[in-house]
């Protein structure tokens, strides 16, 4: 090619950008139909026009021709001379695909043939195609014509391919030979891309056209100048720190080393953060191609479906963006093929003819959550069970035991195809299990939920990044392993003498009794050793060891306990891939290099669970739990409490929900400044509180090592000194609110044999630092009506706590014992409310029902509803969203609840009014 290579390359990048959005813009144009959005058409026109201009300048004749024809049609459209319909848009879409194909194979573009497209576009432009009066060319015949011409070209092209592959084919397996493939389209799909440059003209008709642009996009990445500048600055800092370090070492002056080390530490972590930032991309780049896929599949299958996308702006690591496309495409195809019914069927079922698919991305607890939800036919667990049994995947017994939800998860089983018949779109029996394996490789999980007749939802959780993950290093015999922190729920240490009490056997499986639940146990020893070389039970495991360490891990689908020999530090590890001989190891997800240069393998907890087949144990624990605790339905609010003691005979508890974390520190890390205790912590300082300074309590004995319970108040982290931690337990709230009541103490209860006082962390902070609250704004201005809150909560304790807290802030609170009473109060018309705060678990009418009624009613549906829970589970949250709950708050997290109230009442009302009404 004669023209300057750099210019051409620039043109390719630019043209890709121009065309990036065109597809979706066409789809919007199609949807708008006769109401042409001139601005949008203009935008597309300009994009195509700039491509045409540049192509003309660079002598790319075929690109120029095609762009020109496309531009003509668009020009007529924006002048309202031509009304878009789906046939026209179809041709335009294919032409745009072709254009992109040409651009991404720019070297050969001039020898390509684009007449098939230009002719069709000309026809449209000449009005031969539009729907005015009798249609000279019916859409069907156009399609046929197009595919015939494609087939013809494929024939001639086969010869070339054949020649090119002659040598290769001699040794290659029969199947890969392109000519034997049954239909022209799949010929193209299977021919290796580089050699079939000439085949490009036909690629436009091939739905798998995205390969070319994808390849183009991963060669370079856009980074904001801001991030680059920051990196540049940091590089400067790094050099500076190095110079200081060299100087200090040369002069043998060790006094400054600490400062230099901490500076290096800081700069390094900032560099790491910024570099990770450069790799983050919006997930919208993956989502972008789905509207087209849904549309094309809809046409092919005779179904109608709208794709709604939310959360395009969610950013995840480049590697994840690249890897998530295929699994998502597969899931969307599945939904279209099996989920969404045909318009006729949908009509019969009283559903709108247009199906709806919702693709959603959001952040959730340091991960990305993707949801693909359709309102289609749903999955029938009964059929899945039957099929699984008939295919010999599970036994009849097992099928009978299975819950519906678990039965639905059978679709992830290898060799299981959801489709009753194999179709072109999906259902070749390699489906969901591949999706699951691919997502598991990324460190993510997939789950599925489905209601027959209502629809199916697939939920994928993914880590934000793959490159660096915080992990806990554990030891098992001679070797160290890394367990990703995201999988770890908690660590349990069992003393020898507790073993019998806490560890039991259920049908040959070892289980751990943990807060009334049974948790299957797996010994890492057994997992990592060759089968046969392990003998003995827990007792022989580590004879000299005083205690046994159990990692409670969660795979997203199940949790279990993993017994390890010892625990090391928590480290941020850099994930390195394993070689090709080790790709099949079921329990490993990679390797890392530790600080001392040794290799540590990264455990894949989902893989371990699968390998050890602990599903059964999980079922057992479920069943046992049902039998052993019928009190589940008695609406006792269980509190997740951390028990600790300050003085040997004084026991205290705080609710886990408000604790950010617990740190173990050395006493000398505490500085005393102006009568205040501060903890030096990760380059900042944190205020410390001591119980004896705030409430009536005996002072703690001085100890070398202390625990600090860290929580957040008014945006600051505060630590409460807790010399001895005792346990974490779920305790139902039978709380005496009289005997020990004082500021900072909510009440008392008996745990085991000890009277334990329940401490209110926020009040403690208030006592110690009243100045933190001073700058808070009152909930309402002087003279205004205070906002009125309707509170429904069955537990006496919580009702009083929450009501009092809100009243203190100046809200008028009417409190009710359950949903039904609250509903009656609301309807009695005695009060006008501004916001409803409700518990979820309540007798007579629970929070979901209550909210549902409120949101269905004419008068009250405008009222915001805040739901209170002890611990917000995602299933609950989902249900809550469905009935219309506006916000979820944790009962004991005062700051956040008040914030939320403030937001919903818009800061209306005064703090001078205090009213008390109880119904």
């Amino acid at each position: 090619m004669s023209c300057d290579d750099d210019l051409v390359r620039e043109f390719v990048v630019e043209a890709n950008e121009h065309l990036g959005d065109v597809e979706n813009q066409f789809l919007i144009i199609e949807e708008a139909g006769d109401n042409v959005d001139v601005n949008l058409v203009n935008e597309v026109f300009r994009a195509i026009h700039s491509i045409k201009g540049a192509a003309g300048f660079l002598g790319l004749t075929k690109v120029n021709d095609l762009a020109h024809s496309l531009e003509n049609v668009l020009n007529m459209m924006r002048n309202l001379e031509l009304k878009p319909n789906s046939q026209i848009v179809e041709v335009m879409l294919k032409s745009a695909d072709r254009l992109l194909g040409l651009i991404n194979d720019i070297e050969n573009s001039n020898s390509a043939d684009v007449t098939a497209f230009t002719v069709q576009l000309e026809k449209i432009a000449n009005g031969a195609f539009s729907g005015g009066g009798a249609e000279p060319v019916s859409p069907d015949s156009v399609a046929v014509e197009a595919s015939v011409s494609v087939a013809a070209k494929v024939d001639s092209m086969d010869d070339e391919i054949e020649r090119a592959f002659a040598a290769k084919r001699a040794e290659a397996a029969q199947a890969s030979a392109p000519v034997e493939a049954p239909e022209p389209k799949s010929v193209l799909a299977e021919s290796p891309a580089p050699q079939v440059a000439e085949a490009a003209p036909e690629q436009a008709n091939n739905p798998k056209k995205e390969t070319a642009p994808a390849a183009a996009s991963d060669t370079s990445i856009r980074v904001s100048v801001g991030v680059l500048d920051k990196l540049m600055n940091l590089a400067g800092e790094l050099v500076l720190s190095r110079n200081q370090l060299m100087q200090a070492i040369a002069s043998k002056d060790r006094s400054g080393l600490d400062t230099i080390a901490s500076r290096l530490d800081q700069v390094t972590s900032e560099v790491q953060e910024s570099i990770m930032q450069t790799r983050m991309q919006q997930i919208g780049t993956v989502f972008g191609k789905f509207p087209r896929i849904v549309r094309d599949l809809g046409n092919k299958l005779g179904k109608q479906c709208n794709l709604e996308i939310t959360g395009k702006e969610v950013e995840v690591d480049k590697t994840i963006i690249e890897a998530i496309g295929d699994p998502l495409t597969h899931l969307i195809r599945n939904s279209m093929d099996h989920g969404i019914e045909s318009p006729a069927d949908r009509k019969k079922k009283n559903k709108p003819e247009h199906g709806t698919m919702h693709l959603k991305a959001c952040y959730q607890a340091g991960k990305v959550r993707l949801e693909i939800e359709d309102d289609g036919a749903g999955i029938d667990p009964k059929k899945l069970r039957e099929k699984a049994v008939s295919k010999g995947i599970i036994t009849q017994d097992r099928a009978d035991q299975m819950g519906d939800r678990e039965a639905i998860r059978l679709i992830f089983h290898p060799g299981f195809s959801m489709a009753a018949k194999v179709t072109d779109v999906s259902g070749r029996g390699v489906g969901m299990d591949v999706v699951r394996t691919n997502i598991a490789k990324l460190g993510g999980t997939v789950d599925v939920d489905s209601v027959i007749g209502k629809g199916t939802k697939v939920i994928i959780t993914l880590p934000l990044t793959l490159a660096i993950i915080p992990s806990l290093i554990v030891q098992c015999q001679q070797d160290r392993f890394a367990v990703p922190q995201v999988n770890i729920v908690e660590l349990v240490r069992l003393r020898r003498e507790e073993l019998d009490k806490r560890v039991g056997r259920v049908q040959d499986a070892e289980v751990l009794r943990l807060r009334g639940k049974l948790l299957p146990l797996i010994r890492l020893n057994e997992v990592v050793e060759a089968p046969g070389s392990v003998q003995g039970g827990l007792e022989n495991n580590a004879p000299e060891e005083q205690a046994i360490n159990i990692l409670v891990v969660d795979t997203g689908q199940q949790s279990f306990g993993l017994i390890v020999d010892s625990l090391h530090d928590s480290e941020e590890i850099v994930v390195k891939p394993l070689g090709r001989h080790l790709k099949t190891c079921p329990c490993l997800s990679g390797a890392t290099i530790l600080g001392d240069g040794h290799v540590a393998l990264i455990l894949d907890v989902a893989g371990i669970a699968q390998h050890e087949e602990i599903r059964c144990a999980e079922d057992l624990s479920k069943n046992t739990k049902k039998k052993s605790s019928p009190s589940d339905d008695e609406h006792l609010d269980e509190q997740h409490l951390l028990l600790f003691s300050n003085h040997a005979h004084e026991h205290f508890a705080v609710t886990m929900d408000v604790i950010s974390r617990i740190d173990r520190i050395r006493a000398e890390q505490i500085d005393s400044v102006g009568g205040q205790e501060l903890l030096q912590y990760r380059n900042t300082t944190m205020s410390l509180l001591r119980l004896e300074n705030c409430i009536t309590a005996k002072p703690a004995h001085a100890k070398d090592r202390l625990y600090v319970i860290v929580f957040e108040v008014a945006g600051k982290e505060v630590g409460l000194v807790a010399p001895d931690l005792e346990d974490i337990r779920d305790i139902s709230t039978a709380i005496d609110m009289v005997t020990f009541r004082e500021r900072g103490v909510m009440g008392s209860m008996v745990v085991g044999e000890n009277t334990t006082r329940l401490v209110d962390l926020f009040e403690l902070a208030d006592i110690a630092h009243p100045e933190w609250r001073e700058d808070e704004k009152p909930v309402a201005e002087q003279g205004e009506q205070p906002p009125r809150v309707l509170l429904a909560e069955d537990s006496n304790f919580f009702r009083k706590q929450v009501a009092e807290m809100m009243r203190e802030k100046g809200y008028v609170v009417v409190d009710c014992e359950d949903g039904l009473l609250a509903w009656e109060t609301l309807n009695s018309g005695q009060h006008e409310f501004d916001v409803i705060v409700t518990d979820i678990e309540m007798p007579n009418m629970n929070g979901f029902e209550f909210t549902d009624r409120v949101k269905q009613s004419k008068h009250w549906r405008h009222l915001p509803v805040i739901a209170l829970t002890s611990l917000a589970g995602s299933a609950d949250i989902q249900r809550g969203i469905e009935v219309g709950i506006d916000d979820y708050q944790i009962k004991m997290d005062r700051d956040k609840l008040l914030n939320s109230l403030h937001n919903f009442t818009g800061g209306k009302a005064g703090n001078n009014v205090r009213q008390l009404q109880t119904v």
Binding site: D479, V527, V528, E529, A530, K576, P577, L578, G579, R580, H581, L582, C585, P586, C587, L588, A591, T592, I593, G597, H598, V599, A600, L601, H611
Partner: protein, 157 residues
């Protein structure tokens, strides 16, 4: 001028290749030196659970986690204790560095292609597919290892 210095294989039909030779058990093996990335001595091998039996473990090769393969197991020889003369012969295969655990490193051998004869179908009971040829020395024979074939071994468990 530089062109003239280069060997022209077409003229003579004979090319010269260099082989790194090493012992596995009693067998002297050779690998084309262009495939050898380095030879090192590293005793810290981290075993990998559930790995195929011929995988000795992984090592840290300057920040890269590298698989070490026990050539004895691949060739079907009995396992041996690690000795002081054991080395990792790191080869480059399909863009990946992979180590072969060998018993002892020997010389580098320059062989002309006409000095190499095809491997017999059976060599000390080892399948011939692992070998690309044999060279007869005065003291014995050098068996040339087919690296890709040795790495493609599967399921010897």
């Amino acid at each position: 001028m530089a062109m003239a210095l280069l060997e022209n294989p077409k003229e003579t039909g004979v090319t010269e290749q260099q082989f790194a030779t090493f012992y596995v058990g009693d067998i002297l093996l050779g690998v084309d030196i262009r495939q050898v990335q380095e030879i090192n001595r590293q005793s810290e091998v981290t075993p990998v659970p559930h790995a195929p039996s011929y995988v000795r473990g992984v090592i840290n090769l300057r920040g890269e986690v590298t698989t070490v393969i026990d050539l004895r197991t691949v060739l079907g020889l009995p396992q041996a204790e690690a000795s002081r003369e054991c080395r990792n012969l790191i080869v480059n295969s399909q863009g990946e560095s992979i180590g072969f655990l060998v018993d002892r490193i020997s010389d580098i051998l320059a062989l002309r292609s006409d000095q190499i004869t095809p491997a017999p179908s059976n060599l000390n009971g080892i399948q011939s597919r692992f070998f690309s040829g044999v060279h007869v020395l005065e003291t014995g024979i050098v068996v040339l290892l087919n690296v890709e074939e040795a790495l493609a071994v599967q399921g010897t468990e």
